[in-house]
């Protein structure tokens, strides 16, 4: 990859659920301040791979990982890595929005408070800025004290993105962030992703290939735990190198 810095680099990464190998020898460089999409059929390992990037798989019993994941040249699987500190740098957005049963303000202020910020004016500044960056400020500015659970699904998802931005991460991982949303809410999330990539490295898992084509700069295609092809999105969707990739994106699988 020319003219892009590498933010995340995995080398010979293998992951096992007990005896079953779910990721096989994945070596991949993810560029900084770009959107990288992971695509592939169900069970191909794309979400599992995403969760290796912030060590979320550590929370699952029986998972064994070998190989390495470098973020800014630091192997996040080194023994002396503080996982809590690591996850502060890496925000994550899930398929189903998961706001806390608190006010809109408190949802966004939650992370900064955990990080020790208690000054009201500073918290307000962070909340307003995060909500603006997540393109939801205009819709909630008059009801910051209302429950976040009263927001629509699309608004809740953008609130979760605002909550993620409030702790000022470098990287945002998104696991099918728009799969439960209507087309308009999906468009808003996609537009937001395009705006956020100026400041963040974004990795998105999606089942919607048109969404991958619309929002991402680079695309990785996974199949049965293997990384089959990684290239610029425009190349993957116009002229993929691998026959398997071509068969998958054109709908010729099965």
């Amino acid at each position: 990859m020319k003219n892009v810095n590498i933010k995340i680099s995995t080398k010979n990464l293998n992951l096992y659920y007990g005896t079953k190998q779910a990721l096989m020898d994945i070596t991949l460089d993810i560029p900084e301040k770009q959107v990288t999409a992971f695509i592939g059929p169900s069970g191909c390992g794309k979400s599992t791979f995403l969760r290796t990037l912030n060590r979320m798989n550590d929370l699952i019993d029986g998972v064994k990982i070998d190989g390495s994941v470098y973020i800014d040249d630091i192997n996040i699987y080194d023994k002396n890595i503080d996982v809590v500190q690591l996850r502060k740098r890496i925000g994550m957005v899930f398929q189903k929005s998961n706001p806390f049963p608190k006010s809109i303000f408190d949802n966004v202020a939650y992370g900064p408070r955990v990080n020790g910020i208690s000054e009201r004016s500073k918290l307000e500044e962070i909340v307003v800025e995060s909500l603006k960056r997540a393109a939801i400020w205009d819709e909630v500015k008059d009801r910051l004290k209302s429950s976040a659970l009263g927001l629509s699904g699309g608004q809740q998802q953008r609130l979760c993105i605002a909550r993620c931005l409030a702790v000022n991460p470098d990287i945002i991982l998104m696991d099918e962030p728009a799969s439960a949303l209507d087309p308009i809410s999906t468009s808003k999330i996609e537009e937001l992703i395009s705006e956020l990539k100026d400041n963040y490295t974004i990795v998105i898992v999606t089942h919607n290939m048109q969404q991958a084509a619309r929002v991402s700069d680079f695309t990785a295609f996974f199949y049965i735990g293997e990384l089959i092809e990684f290239d610029k999105t425009k190349t993957i969707f116009t002229n993929p190198s691998n026959k398997k990739t071509e068969e998958y994106i054109t709908g010729r699988f099965g």
Binding site: M209, Q210, A213, F237, T238, N239, P240, E246, E247, I249, T250, G251, R252, F253, G254
Partner: protein, 238 residues
Amino acid sequence: MNDHVLKRFDDELKKLRYRLVKMGTLVQQQIELAISSLLNNNTEIAQLVLDLEKNINKLDVKINTQCIKIIALHQPVANDLRLVLTGYQINIYLEIIGDMTTNITRDVLKMFCPPDLMELTKIKVMAEQIVVMITKLMDSFVDINLNLALDTLKLVGHVEELYIENFNILTDLMKKDPKYIDPCCYIQDINKNFQAISQQTKSIAEELVYLFDSKVIKHMKIEDILKIDPEMVEIDDK
């Protein structure tokens, strides 16, 4: 390549391929008839050319509509996308060739050609060359043969030379004997239409290179095209 999981999409693409082949075959037939009417000064054959024009126009609309429908309903990607995009363009070029062939036929119907005139020009050679180019393009599309598309590109230069040769012959004849002025004007128009058809075949060949090889070679010289890929160097020039 396997079939699509969605059979309806597969059927649409197969239908598009079939229609493009049919369009190419109709245009090829039209050109051959137009040449026959020209060389034999046969008005009955000329009328057949004009009749074919209606079928070509109908098919043009069908292909155009089908490409739009496939893009809107199926959002094709990769080789499917290239087929729909190039199919859309190739259809336009073929329809234009059909129009030019009709122009040639209209000239045939209007002009009185002295028996010796056609022998004095290179119109027959040019017409034969055009038939070869169209045939190679059709074979290239059906057989997915990149080299046949590239062969066509190399022949374009020869047609350009024939055009200039014909132009010079016709102007000389007109200068020598006023009786040639009227038929030579018509033949020059035919000469111009054949040259334009050759340019359309060049565009079709460029589309086929994109379809098969994903390379955009528009506005490039043939020498430069050959430099891109060593595999492209071996071209049958005969």
